[in-house]
């Protein structure tokens, strides 16, 4: 395939540890920045990105240009704006941002500079997961390179625009990925989410207007600026535009990550790119976009991977990294593993999440241990409603309920078998 079809990964080659600045520049790197900063007004950059139809790759899928446009105009010189990169990737089953960070750090940096220019931020922070040591190393190095080339620092490319980027490495908590909790974490506080409104674009980091964007989102930006809106729009196969990193993990032949057009059918991703199920395993279901998405079933393989189509099929595209459930893994135990994760990662701020998730875990453990009762399934179903969207302070708990509610729907028999005592014991490998 033409590298124009794989803008995000064109510099990521199997035999290359990572793209150096020279590698990056050799394929047109930093041209998008030059275009934006020397030819366009910030407003125009926002318009381009909005028109391109880039939607946030952090999971929620909000139009990126639109989000940038919500930042109020700077009225005085003592007003500050901030850009924050959400590189806290911690959703189980998600491994796309680490790939981009480690293998092509300059792509992200260029995206940051353009985005910062678009929202008139003079300081940006990369909020990086603490466990991503290699990414930290490569980013630090790349930032230094960018500084020496005047892509970064005072008077970027001799324009009036200045930008400093700081790398912040986190100390680990899934909730730090939630954008308002992330801001609290960045301020050195406990990472509990903030009430919305006000949204970060109005009052974010230290109260200033702040845009939080996902790593992959920002990686798209340089290419939109370099090749234009029309080109970008031509990349999608479904309703959404551009390409996306899609991944598959679990018992498939070749688990991995591929840059594919938005709207690629799930079947193609699992069967062609991931090589289908390993021998001796059948596909029972899958989580299409990370741990906090609803299970889908093999009958839904032909659904196209774009935000609205997957939503219509009863789940969410989320991070676009698929977790496969095979027929030898017990869905109840898999859900227990997920809920243990969410219960542990709850920030402890709001009641339903803080106390509802541990109860969910207790019930699932009871069921698996053979102490379950039929009415426990109603209790679980009740909890999925109780912890649903809008009921909790942030979206962690509703996310946690998605795999559970769909498992109760699709794999109810597996739950019941434990309860009536006829369970065929299935243990993970």
């Amino acid at each position: 395939m033409d590298i124009m079809d794989k803008p995000l990964t064109k510099n990521i080659l199997p035999d290359r540890a990572f793209a150096t600045l020279a590698d990056y520049e050799s394929t047109g790197g930093y041209q998008g920045l030059r275009q934006a900063i020397t030819q366009l007004q910030p407003k125009e950059v926002r318009q381009w990105v909005k028109d391109a139809g880039l939607r946030g790759r952090g999971g929620a899928g909000f139009n990126t240009g639109l989000k940038w446009g919500l930042v109020p105009e700077k009225k005085t010189n003592d007003t500050k704006h901030y850009l924050v990169v959400n590189a806290d990737e911690m959703e189980p089953g998600t491994f796309k941002d680490r790939f981009l960070l480690e293998r092509d750090p300059h792509q992200l940096i260029e995206g940051i500079i353009i985005a910062a220019y678009a929202i008139q931020a003079n300081t940006a922070y990369i909020f990086l997961r603490g466990e991503y040591h290699l990414a930290a190393q490569r980013l630090t190095h790349a930032l230094q390179e960018a500084r020496t080339k005047n892509y970064l620092g005072e008077h970027v490319l001799n324009t009036g625009f200045s930008l400093e980027i700081h790398l912040h490495t986190s100390a680990g908590r899934y909730i730090c990925g939630e954008e308002s909790a992330l801001l609290n974490a960045l301020e050195g506080k406990r990472a509990t989410p903030r009430a919305k409104p006000p949204f970060a674009v109005v009052s974010g980091l230290w109260g200033w207007p702040t845009v939080v964007n996902n790593v992959e989102t920002l990686c798209n930006v340089p290419h939109i600026l370099q090749y234009g809106v029309e080109w970008y729009q031509s990349l999608g196969r479904g309703l959404d535009k551009g390409t996306k990193l899609f991944g598959v993990s679990g018992r498939v032949k070749c688990p991995g990550l591929w840059e594919l057009p938005m709207g690629t059918p799930i079947r193609e991703i699992i069967e062609e790119h991931a090589g289908g199920m390993q021998d001796g395993y059948k596909l029972r279901g899958f989580l299409p976009g990370g741990a906090s998405t609803d299970f889908m079933l093999p009958e839904q393989l032909d659904v196209l991977m774009d935000y609205d189509t997957v939503a219509k099929a009863g789940s969410r595209m989320g991070t676009g990294t698929i977790i496969v459930l095979d027929d030898k893994t017990c869905p109840v135990q898999m859900v227990l593993n997920l809920e243990e994760f969410f219960a542990q990662e709850s920030c402890g701020w709001c009641t339903p999440c803080r106390d509802g998730l541990p109860w969910t875990v207790t019930l699932l453990k009871d069921i698996i241990a053979g102490h379950g009762r039929m009415e426990d399934l109603d209790t679980l179903a009740g909890l999925t409603r109780m912890l649903g969207p809008g009921n909790t302070f942030c979206a962690l708990a509703p996310g946690a309920m998605e795999p559970l509610q769909s498992a109760l729907k699709y794999f109810r028999a597996d739950f019941e078998r434990y309860i009536v005592g006829h369970n065929v014991v299935m243990e993970p490998a």
Partner: protein
């Protein structure tokens, strides 16, 4: 710098630590923001954050000890108890769990003769679970110190502990 050492009121923080923390403070509008990095800096030098260190850091940052403790106890990667020279974080999230994380844990604990969170007798290792390390296509995985170890097979112990 001398003045800062005096200000921290705790001779226990080394000049290097103070320097590194002070540098971090410069990255933010507000000193509090360096809390997490400060704790990590202390940890880089001493593996864990003892009570006196916590007090010293809070003084350096000009925040209350209680506030810093609130932060320190919130995050997964801040250790408020001693850990081994190398911390082995094995991933126990969904894909790794499916692909054999339990086996990895069991082998490590048996080999090092520790429970989760304990330090091995020689002070070399501590084994802890961690959430998804973002390498699910190579499950099961573990983070050994700052090295990511992929595709841990039945021979996890060898792969992890070999130098």
């Amino acid at each position: 710098m001398d003045e800062l050492i005096e200000k921290s009121g705790f001779e226990g923080l080394s000049p290097t630590e103070i320097q590194e923390i002070t540098a971090e403070m410069g990255h933010y509008e507000d000193k509090t923001a360096a809390s997490i990095e400060a704790l990590k800096i202390v940890q880089k030098h001493r593996r864990w954050v003892s009570d006196p260190c916590l007090v010293a850091v809070s003084e350096l940052l000009g925040i209350s000890t209680a506030q810093l403790e609130g932060v320190a106890t919130f995050y997964n990667l801040i250790y408020r108890q001693p850990v081994g020279k190398t911390v082995i974080h094995y991933c126990n999230s969904v894909t790794c769990w499916m692909m054999g994380a339990e086996r990895v844990r069991e082998q490590l604990c048996r080999h090092l003769n520790v429970k989760l969170g304990e330090m091995s007798a020689d002070g070399e290792y501590t084994v802890l679970p961690i959430v998804c390390l973002g390498a699910c296509d190579h499950a099961p995985v573990a983070l050994v110190g700052d090295q990511l170890k992929l595709d841990l097979t039945d021979n996890a112990v060898n792969e992890i502990l070999k130098r």
